[in-house]
């Protein structure tokens, strides 16, 4: 007995997927079919925007999504004018039997006690231009004292700490903070 095999022609033509990514489900109208191992357009290779301080949010309108492991660049703190670039808190008058203590600091390599009420701070990361950044300070020994900014090189700044009567004093603590472009 002879068996004849007659191929059955495929009845359905497969086409490229054309699914649309959206924010809600919706029925399509195409009467074509796709294969189960088709590739869907879900991602793109667009570099996400760099995040800056104060940047506004946006819902976006792109019709593709970012990959789960995508990453945004962020604005460097050195470029943000609103961020403090250096600060310190020092017990400038050690008191009896105690030490000259820097309690905490940021971007400060050293603090020098140059004399009564006179301090020089050396920055770890320099500022961009001398005398274009703001450096202020204050202290307290039961009263608020002010700090006079004497001038600043790119890598250091000298400040005088004074009482409300203008006399130089080593406050305890003495705190400094600096803003500006680096």
């Amino acid at each position: 007995m002879t068996i004849n095999v007659t191929p059955i022609p495929r009845l359905t033509a497969l086409t490229d997927p054309a699914f649309i990514l959206g924010t809600s489900n919706a029925a399509g109208s195409a009467i074509t079919a796709v294969a189960s191992n088709s590739t869907l357009l879900a991602f793109d290779a667009t570099l996400p925007d760099a995040i800056t301080f104060g940047q506004s949010g946006a819902a976006g309108s792109a019709t593709v999504t970012s990959r789960r492991d995508h990453a945004h660049a962020t604005e460097s703190v050195t470029a943000a004018s609103s961020s403090a670039k250096a600060w310190s808190m020092t017990n400038a008058w050690p008191g009896l039997g105690s030490d000259f203590v820097i309690n905490d600091s940021y971007n400060v390599d050293s603090i020098a006690d140059n004399g009564p009420g006179l301090f020089t701070l050396t920055w770890t990361t320099d500022f961009a231009v001398a005398n274009t950044y703001v450096n202020g300070g204050w202290g307290s020994e039961g009263r608020i004292v002010g700090a006079i900014y004497n001038g600043a090189a790119v890598g250091s700044s000298q400040n005088t700490v004074v009482t409300d009567s203008g006399a130089r004093t080593d406050g305890n603590p003495v705190m400094f903070v600096a803003f500006g472009a680096q």
């Binding site: 009896l96 006690d113 600043a152």
Partner: protein, 92 residues
């Protein structure tokens, strides 16, 4: 025991320097000396390869020649007078 560095001021006084944190390579101290040696140069950024302790001690353009006077312990400044520098008497 923490160390403090002593350098001469241009007015004849001295400055007491506290280095923040560790300084195994001495870079913070070298930069501090570089900054304290400034006289007219406010703009030059510290370059470790160029601004060495030897170069700072010899004097750089716009800077005074500067080197350490002494290294002392914290305990050495545990004095009664807050303005202890003015009461110091030096001995070798």
């Amino acid at each position: 025991m923490a160390k403090l560095q002593v350098i001469p001021n241009s007015d004849g006084g001295v400055s007491i320097i506290k280095i923040v944190g560790d300084d195994p390579g001495g870079l913070k101290l070298t930069k501090t000396l570089f900054e304290h040696s400034r006289t007219t140069d406010m703009d030059t950024h510290f370059e470790p390869a160029v601004h060495t302790l030897e170069a700072i001690a010899a004097g750089l353009p716009g800077h005074r020649a500067l080197s350490l006077s002494a290294e002392i312990d914290d305990a050495d400044v545990r004095l009664l007078d807050r303005y202890f520098r003015d009461a110091w008497e030096w001995s070798d």
